[in-house]
Symmetry: none
Amino acid sequence: MSTHETSHRRDPRLDRSRSAILSAAVELLSEGGVKAVTIDAVTARSGVARSTLYRHFPNNVELLAAAFQELLPPLRLPAAGGAPRDRLLRLVRAQAEQIESAPALAAVVWLATVGLTTDAPSDDERSRLAALRERIVDNLRGPFDAVLTECLGDRDIDHAAAQLVGPLLFNTLITRRPNDERFCARVVDDYLAGSG
Amino acid sequence: MSTHETSHRRDPRLDRSRSAILSAAVELLSEGGVKAVTIDAVTARSGVARSTLYRHFPNNVELLAAAFQELLPPLRLPAAGGAPRDRLLRLVRAQAEQIESAPALAAVVWLATVGLTTDAPSDDERSRLAALRERIVDNLRGPFDAVLTECLGDRDIDHAAAQLVGPLLFNTLITRRPNDERFCARVVDDYLAGSG
Amino acid sequence: MSTHETSHRRDPRLDRSRSAILSAAVELLSEGGVKAVTIDAVTARSGVARSTLYRHFPNNVELLAAAFQELLPPLRLPAAGGAPRDRLLRLVRAQAEQIESAPALAAVVWLATVGLTTDAPSDDERSRLAALRERIVDNLRGPFDAVLTECLGDRDIDHAAAQLVGPLLFNTLITRRPNDERFCARVVDDYLAGSG
Amino acid sequence: MSTHETSHRRDPRLDRSRSAILSAAVELLSEGGVKAVTIDAVTARSGVARSTLYRHFPNNVELLAAAFQELLPPLRLPAAGGAPRDRLLRLVRAQAEQIESAPALAAVVWLATVGLTTDAPSDDERSRLAALRERIVDNLRGPFDAVLTECLGDRDIDHAAAQLVGPLLFNTLITRRPNDERFCARVVDDYLAGSG
DNA sequence: TCTTAACCGAGACGGTACGTCGCGTCTTTTG
DNA sequence: CAAAAGACGCGACGTACCGTCTCGGTTAAGA
């Protein structure tokens, strides 16, 4: 059965160049923000040819998406055990911190933006963007939802996420206020009081 | 002193060209989204010269900001009177509808984006952007906060806004779900239960 | 010595791939002109791998040359016998027709172009191009010169060819006029009158 | 009436940048041949921006045509007077020399090539190329035909040109032989003998 | 009423980034 | 071991915007 295995082995050059591209893109993204992740800059820094880059990513949008996915730090999940309210609070705190750190917020906002600024003429393009979105959002929400489920049992997870994370988002996007300990606690308590 | 007075009267041409620019920009914005509001497109449609446009707006960012401000519909405020909970609910519903309608969301997201994607080389630029932000946000929040104050008395308005609007934002930006009647009701009730 | 023999017998696959390449190239050449004979297009249409193509032809120039050589129809030679003047006229007419038909002219022009547009960095390259040229020109002129010799005996063949074919070339390349019967007759008569 | 005049005065920058582009292109053309006249190379050498170049020339083909037109030396015309045969011979000699010098031949061949290698999808493109051709050819033939008319009176000028220049072309394009004095004399004499 | 200075349209200009295509070299996998 | 499959570096192309600038022409303001 080695034939089958080998027939599906990828060309190692693909991985080499892809990772070269991605690491260059991530560097540029963290150094200079979204604006810095230029096709030209990435090729220059990675030493990869333009055509090679386009063989991996169909356009700068997908490249940026991949870079974000690479850049985003995993959510620091609270240890299991303890009172549900405490655990929830720690979870929300972690989420707040992640949002506070530039990349995660940038990712979310940028994602939302993409839908606005891209022409998206073809349905093909549109659906690929949607897939992209989903992939990134799932990546972000996955661990969060897992813990949430543990804490809340059979309650509506989507509603809980909206209630718990929405206010953080509002603060950061609209009022530009920090999500401090007190605020997080109020958010958690309001949620528990309401949906208890 | 007529000299003084007349010397301060604006040249009517200024207003004429400014409004021509703005209406063209608003048209383009509502027709084709953010991407369509190009300097070239605006000058072409408005019949205003490039240099004139730049005399009114220092760059495309400010132009877009002005266009958004022009485009955003005012919040449909609930009539005074009635139970506070009902009024709050109607307020949140109106807000949800406004967010649902493309422009408002686009404005918010775009606003958030500006800070991320712009190079912002000088502090000057940065602060002007902040001012811009503030102006638009105030414009959006003003009427909302007014009603909120009426309903809630001396409670923390900022916290209330975060609790009430944040979840709507989360739904639209992250999960892409509609903010239906039921959801709004839960949001309001959770808030009232928690902060009561 | 069978080893020696077999080592000199060509791998049949070589012929198969070469002819596949050539027929694809000829098709493309006649369909879309010089511009269509792309390495990528030829490999795609012939099903031959890139590396295989490059084993047969060192670069696209030689490939195109081979395609032209394959494509060019043989000159329709006038039957032997008859008055020399008539035979000459029929020869010139046939040549005119061949020039009129796109490929022959294209070949001639392209051949001339090669020397101009190629970088020709090495003398090696340059001499190979010259050989290529010679091969194609000989291929074209061979039958023509043979008939010419028959008709003209010991006269200067090169001069005759220049006098007889040059004007056709001029018409086609410079003035874009057709080489009609009358023109050909004048060309022949002028030549005979002058060099008689 | 000065209004009318001034309103038609061209922006001086247009001439400045156009001549900068052209001289750079001519330099490159004479130094490195057709292949060297790259958009990038021209912009680099001329210090003119890419977009400016494209505002003057719609594509590299037209740029190259303009460069050729700039580069081609005028035909050294024979002084008036003297026997017609001598004058004709001097004219043909001059033409031979011009063809011998790279640029003229290159121009002619390149021109012929353009029709072959360009896709020319639209009729618009096709007709513009034809106009281009005509312009360059006229530029080349103009003085030549003038002298020819003087020498030959009412004879068919086009036919004469074909008979006199065609053989030179044949020698240079096909056989790669020099058009020496003796050859030119034979060409002239053949023509005079035939059409006398 | 007549100047005159601000404002205007038109658009050229230098830049930067994009996405595409073709080439010739090269590696990897398969028959 | 040769052929296919195709990744790769390279370099040119033509396009789209940007923000700056140079031009004349026009028009509203103030004398």
